[in-house]
Subunit: 464 residues, 2 copies
């Protein structure tokens, strides 16, 4: 069934829109009114005449226009009657923001059952309850009820992000905004009374803005359908999943969080692998992997890694990490070695890792990048560039980007530092060159590229 | 032998001080002149009359005053003759910044041998060559030749940091400054012609400003002495080591970086454990662990963990990580459970993790912290606080700090986000409450506290 009305509604009613600036309903209504959202907007609040200058309605039945989307932010006990109204009005899609359902025990579970019966067969699709809804920077659907000075909205970009947990989602979105990471769509699915990760996977598989999908989930209720959808989507888009509640303690915590039973770690692991899903083991890995997979080409054919650095120590640690993961460092061809000897100062030994030494400038990086990228023995490039030396100017970003574009080889950067580094990291991010603060995280991201490459090859083999 | 002259010199000569603002010798001399360094400063440069207004000397033999410290930044081939002059002048300590020694091969190795002979038995101690020397924010010794707009200097604090690699050290210092992490002393040891990590461990063991020591090292040449020094120091101060070159690929890279042979991973691992050293497996872990160990009390007696959160998902992931590491979550006492039920809203279930739910305010955190901290079943507290909700104001920092001070239990924070979060993280850092961006990193830091606690108990047992 079509989820389009969630993301491209021509009209929206916010039920529970409030005049109180701190109330969720107020913030949500304001998001629609003050953004570039182009559809009609209707506040519903029986106690108000006007909200932010818009006429307020007592109930949605009073609204004459067709309604594509209803955002519901009223106390849990009132939600069933609101759902009744939505169904009889013919609303296409509803997001129930309200909490107080399955996650608080039996009483809430009953309410949820009641709602489920009302929407069954109604044709109306529902996201939530107990969620923060949708953030779509392209069509300006933003039901995040947290104020912008607390939760900065990330810019548009190629990564879709689904989170079962609202707080998890909002913390990561705020962080993503601070890192200039772009999001195609964010969806918080909460208690998943109707729309779940499977529906969203199917929807996002056709979304041209989404290049890579990231999911935080505590339970997967429709296991078989999830694997089918994953197997289908991973043929064209990488899918990264962090599964919460993989241990007994974690599962117990998940039970009281989203009221969901979490399955065994082993089962998920095997199933994910089988359907081409990249499993993140930590929160850091989720977006570390997503940025590599969304921004860079997937390695094909030659996959050996070249490491270029101006700091020997980071070269050593990268080699260690590659070795721990069983990844192979490239042997430069004799031609490359000869040319490197010619071009580089004699104290820069043409090994891999290629240590350009502390006095390397951008020109030396350019030469090294050119020679190493054109070597057929090199498939992937890790550029470590420590920016504390004043030899390196900001055009090192151009050098790296140009070499990536010219030679088309997956390129990953590692750099760490203060303000100056932060600026260059954002320039790289803008150019879709993913950058990592430590050699281990950079090499792990390369490993994710290789994992996905392997998954694609396995799919190809099966189809032959 | 005394290393005091490196850190508290009454007089310093910078040999190779230049008038050129980008030259290393210039930056180093300027660091002494423009900081609050209180000793005498002498630039040595045969081609200049004055540098930054100070009379320049042709050689140190012309300087009448006694010289405690010489910082040498001249081309490698000239270094042996400069060392001769230093020895005959009776200089107490020298730092050779210059590169071009063992790390570039045979030619450099010979130069290094030459220098070694000259200093043997001279009584002069030497740090380097091929290093960036010392940064001491208390006595204002700063031989970092990288300009401050590129490498911001961290403030004073309880963590001493030794790095064999200069670039590694400078990148981490710049990052530490951006995070408001305080450093007691930083020493880059480079090729370790004389002073090595063993000498520095012995020195730092008596340094009252140093509460915790962090080392990045690619080779440990005096293994037995290192273990002796470590065993001694870890009785009173935690020691965290990241060993580069633990794999074959990494060791090969280390060979051409600092010209040092790296030993087998297994041998180091066993030896570290035996001498109470906490081994960091990644660059992130180095300071993640150091901040927990330097700021918080070491767990004694009751060591079960309580998790307090306003985001269920982060609670779930923390539980997973604790479980993966074999750490135990506390069972709250019946009294605590009863009181939590009384004080908290009914939708916040008094389990551990204790989910205060998304609408928790600072007062709810205060009550939870009070009840949980006073529970004898709780030894360590992990406070997850996601700041995207406007219920939480910045005084949550006071609530956490006060509870830590009142109850004295090790307290770790997990929070992630943009600008607002960053400000609160710095407030926490100022109060010496370590904060981490992900549940996994926070729980790993708790694990480091527990590892050190275990090491101390083992020492106690051996002494009984």
């Amino acid at each position: 069934m079509n989820l389009e009305f969630f993301f491209k509604p021509r009209s929206v009613a916010v039920i529970g829109a409030s005049r109180e600036p701190r109330k969720f309903g107020h913030v949500i209504f304001k998001n629609f009114v003050e953004s570039e959202f182009q559809g009609k907007t209707f506040p519903v609040n029986p106690k108000a005449d006007k909200i932010l200058g818009f006429k307020a309605y007592t109930s949605i039945s009073e609204i004459q226009s067709e309604l594509d989307l209803a955002v519901i932010a009223v106390p849990a006990p009132i939600v069933p009657s609101v759902i009744d109204e939505c169904v009889s009005k013919g609303v296409k899609a509803a997001i129930i923001i309200s909490g107080g359902f399955k996650e608080v025990g039996e009483r809430g579970e009953k309410l949820e059952e009641e709602i489920r019966k009302k929407i069954d067969g109604s044709g109306m699709r529902v996201i939530g309850p107990n969620c923060i809804g949708i953030y779509d920077p392209t069509d300006h659907v933003d039901t995040l009820f947290l104020p912008r000075y607390r939760l900065r909205r990330p810019r548009g970009g190629p990564i879709a992000f689904i989170s079962q947990s609202g707080a998890f989602g909002s913390a990561i979105l705020d962080w993503a905004a601070s890192q200039d990471i772009g999001i195609s769509k964010f969806i918080s699915i909460g208690n998943k009374i109707d729309v779940d990760e499977v529906d969203l996977l199917n929807y996002l598989s056709d979304d041209p803005l989404t290049k890579c999908i990231v999911i935080y989930v505590e339970s997967i209720s429709r296991g078989r359908e999830f694997l089918e959808a994953s197997s289908k989507i991973t043929k064209s888009k990488p899918l990264i999943v962090l599964k919460g509640g993989v241990t007994q303690e974690g599962a117990r915590a998940a039970m009281s969080h989203t009221g969901s039973l979490a399955g065994s770690a082993k089962i998920y692991e095997g199933a994910f692998k089988q359907s081409g899903v990249i499993q993140a083991r930590t929160v850091d890995e989720l977006f570390d992997y997503a940025r590599a997979l969304a921004y860079q080409p997937i390695p094909k054919g030659q996959k050996d890694i070249a490491i270029i650095t101006n700091g020997g120590g980071f070269g050593v640690i990268s080699s260690d990490q590659a070795s721990k993961l069983g990844l192979k460092l490239a042997h430069f061809s004799p031609e490359t070695t000869t040319k490197l000897k010619e071009k580089l100062p004699d104290y820069a030994i043409p090994n891999n890792p290629l240590d350009l030494v502390g006095d390397a400038d951008v020109e030396r990086y350019r030469q090294a990048l050119d020679l190493v990228s054109s070597d057929p023995n090199v498939g992937i490039i890790l550029v470590i560039v420590l920016l504390q030396t004043s030899y390196i100017e900001s055009d090192v970003v151009d050098a790296i980007t140009e070499s990536q574009v010219t030679y088309g080889k997956p390129t990953i950067v590692c750099t760490i530092g203060g303000d100056f580094t932060q600026i260059l990291v954002k320039m790289l991010e803008e150019n879709r060159i993913p950058s990592y603060t430590t050699p281990e995280r950079a090499v792990n991201a390369i490993n994710a590229l290789l994992q996905y490459s392997k998954a694609l090859e396995d799919i190809e083999k099966r189809n032959m």
